[in-house]
């Protein structure tokens, strides 16, 4: 029976994987459900037959297994398809024939519904018609502008039945079968079709759009507000500057004055700022369970702006969150969120067990606030109560301009903050120990411990990792207490059952990192630890010493110069050193020279050696491959930091829980908690220091992101290692059966198998080199970054985006650019070009230069003398300021100084000058290809040139260059680049303001200005120096006088505006910049009606490809839409009434 359960669970997972690969359409769901039900019935019949016919038990058992496997596969396929699609329902057909229209209803509309029409048979002439019917408009009964509920907690509505007519719909012979028309008006019943014009024949399917929350979400956060009636059905996530609610909507009013729709699934994320009147009510645990009326814009989360980047929309959808609202209360206006009580007057609350658990959490948190100083309280709150949000933005106590969360991530100990198997197992062991001390029999205390674990799961937010651990530990307790089975057996049973239960509830979690990492860790521990321990135990005497030497040398080199381990010129000699060391130990062994006697890994005390093996298993089985896959980063420190961190966290969590519970005892409880917490403070300090040291002394490099095929091959190799004995036996048996008697035959066969296994990685490279010229304009908010892949296979990076060090800590280099480079496996660059010293171009440069290999950094002439020892006035002179500027220019100068030279207040913060000093011309940098040469460029310079298939490729500087141009504004002396490949050309006019634009036009040969594609100068948001007659007039004057002549000279087919989120960069000027950008965009659209205008904020990353004759432009937004990642047209539909 146990085997069948395990088999069923694994096959269910396989069914989900099949669904992910095949992506069946939602329309197939009824069929899939029917097949699943029939298979389940078949399984039941096979089970009955097996029991009824003992004579044919073996055959029936096979039949039962086959039915079980198919049922599980079909169930997985159906559940995943159902969770992944929101199917629309066909409710009837419109038949237009001989001047008359009929509506053939096949299913009644269940509620107020939105309709779309799909052409089945297109007409042979134009037809105009409209739908006629009724609408049962649902309008809430309000008191003081707030909807009300009855005494059973149901929203109260007034129903108004009104006749409804659609707008006139027009179809023509050009409309292909399958074309879709959205009816702008909602209906509750369709009674007739009124044909207004034409007598052609046509048939149309009438489809009801699902009222799922996702179908009401709009693309823009500036869209018209909607009203939601719903319930808060999760514990609020309370930050120090906002509270984030998970709201399950019951009804939604899509348009002011329109009807309320009943919502058919999907949750929303609602952000409440402290400026909202009744904020305190929604920033505490008591908010869980209450009913609310909310008014605000409902918009979709950001998609993956750049390939390889984080997809917030997908992440939220995996958690059943299909839209978000950021509430805002204008002065003098009513609050956008109201708690609504049923008619009996009491606000509704959530489930009593959940309510109890969250109340317990708050009381324990109150204890921590009294017995542990900040920030240790936030650390203990996170690891014992799952309050990770309390750690948001908390600075490390060892102060190095980093947050605790950053340090945990970089040191590879971040997993302790995600309440998972480690914490749950610690708690299980602790309570089992306590009950054993109290002499309670295991059969009695097992259910109690399970109840405690359930409460713990609720307290910590019931995340997948916690649920997995709680289910597994509960199964272990049951199996151990009532069936007396061991740990390994219960683990092998518990893993698939836990995965099945979690994925049955939400199949989309299968790709969520918290799910995958949690199961990866437990499977690594269960399967890999043993074989690794076995192999390590073979290290004895000289070989043990050699292993220690090799590990130490590689670790030290990694700590001091990580790139030396990844550069073939240095990595190959290091590997040779390792081989030589092993060879030397063999020689010494043969001569009988034992450097450390016979001591080996097996002589290390059992628990320690088992723990070391488990650490290696986790690194190989989970951390290394999955960190690279999900985050494109690997924390080298993790392998070492966890040796201390894991035992330490065991004690820290136990003391935290005990202190929290002791503190609840009236009287002496708090004093006892203080004593225990004082000890825990010391241990927590040690833990925080480990994270600090791990970050400070170990690298946290970006890695190439493996493809799914590479990951699969890696895990097949791991599986071969885990089951190497049975594998070897099978291979030998195979050779014996075929009478391959040569002793090398099994090894040769294995080698062949290895080649076959590795072949797909070579055939399907993870990031194949594209043909021709490829330019990617990355979406990095207000800033610029372009990756150029030349036709000859060389790479150039232009600009590096902005880094915000203060609140929010938005680092575009780490958030967008480096993940893109890791995703595309781009590490070796020919040059990096910085067009302007402005922070939105230069801020991310040191972070990127630390991760890539590049011999040349090309900068504008102003930065020729960039050195680490420059003072602020000297830096100002370098940039052409005769006297120190004041006001905003002074602030901008200071910011440039901090990014490019150093930050005197935070001296360890990366800066360009510091990076250049580290990468100066030394022998070790030369050996490891780490030297970066600073070059300047000016008008006329060719920065890169090659000839491919007879077509020249060049990157040419057009500006600055004229000696008489003494413009004080730094932006006006930024580099202007022209990329040329055969007949194709692209202009990057840098940060040029209006004066610089005039100068560029005046002093550049016209044929060099012409380009097929042009970026709009200064992100399309250059603020005029002098404002005459208001901002708009001044901008229009400058656009007419400076920008228009330049752009007419360029005359591109495509304009690109690299603009978005200017607030972080420009502060108070950001509103003006947004205004100027809108004016500029409109100006370009008016003046260049035939040109295409793309926007990195709206269209996301932009991909340009040219073969030297023609070019194509594609956007990330288009790619997402093509892969179903974006919502359909309904998103932006205005529903009339």
């Amino acid at each position: 029976m146990q085997n069948k359960i395990i088999g069923f669970c694994w096959c269910y997972l396989a069914g989900i994987v099949v669904s992910m690969l095949a992506t069946p359409e939602g329309a197939l769901l009824p069929g899939l459900r029917l097949i699943t039900a029939l298979l389940a019935l078949g399984w039941f019949v096979a089970w009955v037959l097996r029991n009824r016919q003992p004579g044919r038990a073996k055959q029936m058992l096979r039949l039962e297994w086959a039915a079980l496997v198919l049922t599980a596969l079909a169930l997985g396929l159906t559940r995943h398809t159902s969770a992944n699609t929101i199917p629309d329902t066909r409710i009837g057909e419109i038949v237009l024939r001989a001047g008359e229209g009929d509506y053939l209803e096949s299913r009644a509309l269940p509620d107020v519904s939105r309709i779309l029409l799909r052409i089945k048979e297109p007409p042979d002439g134009d037809l105009r018609f409209r739908l006629v019917g009724e609408l049962d408009a649902r309008l809430p009964i309000e008191e003081n502008g707030v909807a009300t509920m009855d005494d059973r907690g149901r929203w109260r509505f007034r129903l108004a039945r009104v006749p409804q007519e659609s707008t006139v719909l027009h179809i023509s012979p050009e409309d292909a079968p399958g074309s879709v028309f959205v009816v702008p008006q909602p209906f509750s019943r369709i009674t007739a079709i009124e044909l207004l014009e034409g007598d052609a024949d046509a048939r149309l399917d009438v489809v009801r759009i699902s009222n799922h929350a996702a179908s009401f979400v709009r693309a823009s956060r500036d869209s018209a507000p909607v009203t939601i009636l719903g319930r808060i059905l999760a514990d609020p996530m309370v930050y120090d500057f906002k509270s984030v609610l998970t709201v399950t909507p019951a009804y939604i009013q899509y348009r002011a004055g329109g009807p309320f729709y009943r919502v058919e699934g999907g949750d929303l994320r609602v952000t409440v700022p402290p400026t909202v009147d009744n904020y305190p009510l929604f920033a505490r645990t008591e908010a869980y369970g209450i009913d609310v009326q909310i008014r605000g814009s409902l918009f979709r989360a950001g998609s993956q702006a750049n390939p390889g980047g984080f997809d917030q929309h997908r992440f939220m959808a995996n958690h059943n969150l299909h839209g978000q609202m950021s509430l805002f209360q204008p002065r003098g206006e009513p609050a956008p969120i109201h708690a609504v009580a049923p008619a009996d007057g009491e606000l509704r609350r959530g489930h009593p067990l959940v309510q109890f658990s969250l109340g317990l959490r708050d009381r324990m948190l109150l204890v921590f606030k009294q017995v542990l100083p900040f920030p240790h309280s936030s650390f203990i709150g996170a690891v014992t109560l799952g309050l990770r949000y309390g750690l948001h933005g908390v600075e490390s106590p060892f102060g190095e301009d980093r947050t605790i969360a950053d340090e945990f991530r970089a040191a590879g100990v971040n997993h302790v903050l995600a309440v998972s198997g480690l914490h749950v197992t610690i708690l299980t062991a602790m309570f089992m120990g306590i009950f054993t001390l109290l002499r309670i029999p295991r059969r009695m205390y097992a259910p109690l411990v399970i109840l405690i674990l359930v409460i713990f799961a609720i307290i910590t937010g019931a995340r997948p990792s916690t649920l997995r651990a709680v289910i597994m530990n509960s199964l272990f307790l049951l199996v151990w207490a009532y069936l007396s089975q061991g740990l390994r057996a219960s683990a092998l049973f518990g893993v698939p059952v836990a995965a099945f239960l979690i994925l049955l509830h939400n199949p989309l979690m299968i790709v969520d990192p918290s799910f995958t990492l949690s199961f990866g860790a437990i499977l690594s521990l269960a399967l890999l630890t043993g074989p690794i321990h076995e192999q390590l135990s073979r290290l004895r005497g000289n070989s043990f010493a050699a292993a220690l030497v090799i590990v130490t040398v590689f670790t030290l080199i990694g700590m001091l110069r990580w790139p030396l381990l990844t550069e073939p010129r240095t990595a190959i000699p290091l590997l040779l050193f390792a081989v030589l060391t092993v060879w030397l130990t063999r020689v010494l062994d043969r001569k009988g020279l034992l450097l450390v006697g016979r001591f080996g890994f097996a002589d290390i005390p059992g628990p320690v050696s088992a723990f070391l093996s488990a650490q290696v298993a986790i690194q190989l089985g989970m951390m290394l491959p999955l960190s690279a896959y999900y985050f494109s980063q690997w924390a080298m420190a993790g392998a070492y930091a966890n040796l201390l961190a894991i035992p330490l966290i065991g004690v820290v969590v136990q003391l935290g829980v005990i202190a929290g519970l002791f503190g609840l005892i009236p009287g002496i409880g708090l004093l006892l908690a203080l004593v225990i917490s004082a000890a825990n403070w010391a241990l927590s300090s040690l833990f925080l220091w480990i994270a600090y040291a791990g970050t400070q002394y170990f690298p946290f490099p970006f890695m190439r992101r493996p493809s799914l095929i590479e990951l699969l091959i890696y895990y097949l190799l791991i599986a071969a290692f885990v089951w190497h004995r049975p594998l070897w036996k099978s291979v030998r048996r195979f050779c014996e059966r075929r009478a391959w008697s040569h002793p090398a035959a099994p090894r040769a066969l294995l080698a062949c198998g290895l080649v076959v296994l590795l072949a797909p990685a070579a055939i399907f490279p993870a990031a194949p080199r594209p043909d021709g010229l490829n330019i990617t304009v990355l979406s990095v908010g207000y800033g610029r970054s372009l990756v150029i892949e030349t036709p000859g296979g060389r790479r150039v990076l232009v600009d590096a985006g902005f880094v915000e060090h203060e609140r929010g800590r938005r680092n575009e280099a780490q958030r967008s650019i480096l993940p893109f480079l890791a995703f595309r496996h781009l590490r070796d660059f020919e040059a990096v070009i910085l067009t302007s010293p402005h922070p939105e171009e230069s801020g991310g440069l040191p972070y990127i230069l630390n991760e890539i290999k590049v011999p040349r950094l090309i900068v504008p002439p102003d930065l020729e003398g960039l050195r680490l020892d420059l003072s602020v006035p000297a830096f100002a002179r370098l940039l052409g300021y005769e006297t120190m500027p004041r006001g905003v220019p002074r602030e901008r100068l200071q910011r440039m100084y901090e990014d490019l030279v150093r930050n005197p207040e935070v001296p360890q913060r990366p800066s360009l000058a510091r990076t250049l000093a580290l990468r100066r011309d030394t022998w070790i940098n030369r050996w490891g290809r780490q030297t970066i040469r600073l070059e300047t460029a000016e008008a006329g310079d060719i920065l890169l040139e090659e000839v491919v298939r007879g077509r020249p490729f060049r990157i040419r500087a057009l500006h600055p260059g004229d000696a008489h141009f003494e413009e004080e504004r730094v932006a006006n002396r930024s580099l202007v680049l022209r990329i040329e490949y055969g007949d194709f050309s692209m202009l990057i006019p840098g940060d040029l303001h209006y004066e610089g634009q005039r100068h560029l036009l005046a002093y550049t040969e016209p044929e060099l200005l012409r380009a097929d594609i042009a970026l709009v100068p200064h992100h399309g948001a250059a603020l005029p120096v002098r404002r005459r007659g208001g901002l708009r007039n001044s901008v229009m004057t400058e656009l007419r006088d400076a920008t228009a002549p330049l752009l007419h000279a360029v005359d591109p087919a495509v304009f690109i505006v690299d603009f978005g989120f200017p607030r972080a960069v420009l502060g108070h000027d950001s509103r003006d910049a947004e205004g100027v950008q809108a004016i500029t965009e409109q100006f370009i659209e008016d003046r260049f009606p035939h040109a295409e205008l793309l926007h990195t904020g709206r269209d996301l990353a932009i991909f340009i490809r040219s073969d030297g004759e023609t070019f194509t432009v594609e956007t990330q937004a288009e790619r997402l839409r093509a892969h179903g990642g974006d919502e359909d047209a309904v998103t932006d539909m205005e529903i009339g009434f």
Binding site: Q370, P373, S377, M432, G433, L437, I676, W681
Partner: protein
């Protein structure tokens, strides 16, 4: 499970000894000890250091006392 029970006793003993040492030596902890013993947790430096950490979690008794004062 006997091992687990022994480990808990050991951890608790360690915590009481180490905690007493910390309270004795560290001024923040010793002042907080005094404040808690005197029934004025709102005056303890530990509580004050946590003012911005989940500010909605408050000492109800202290609020009442402050209101009465």
């Amino acid at each position: 499970m006997e091992k687990g029970a022994k480990a808990i006793i050991f951890i608790l003993l360690f915590a009481f000894v180490a905690g007493a040492l910390v309270i004795w030596q560290h001024p923040v902890f010793s002042e907080s000890w005094k404040a808690l013993r005197e029934g004025r947790p709102e005056a303890s430096p530990i509580w004050l250091s946590n003012a911005d950490y989940y500010p909605e979690i408050v000492l109800e008794g202290a609020e009442r006392r402050q209101r009465a004062e």
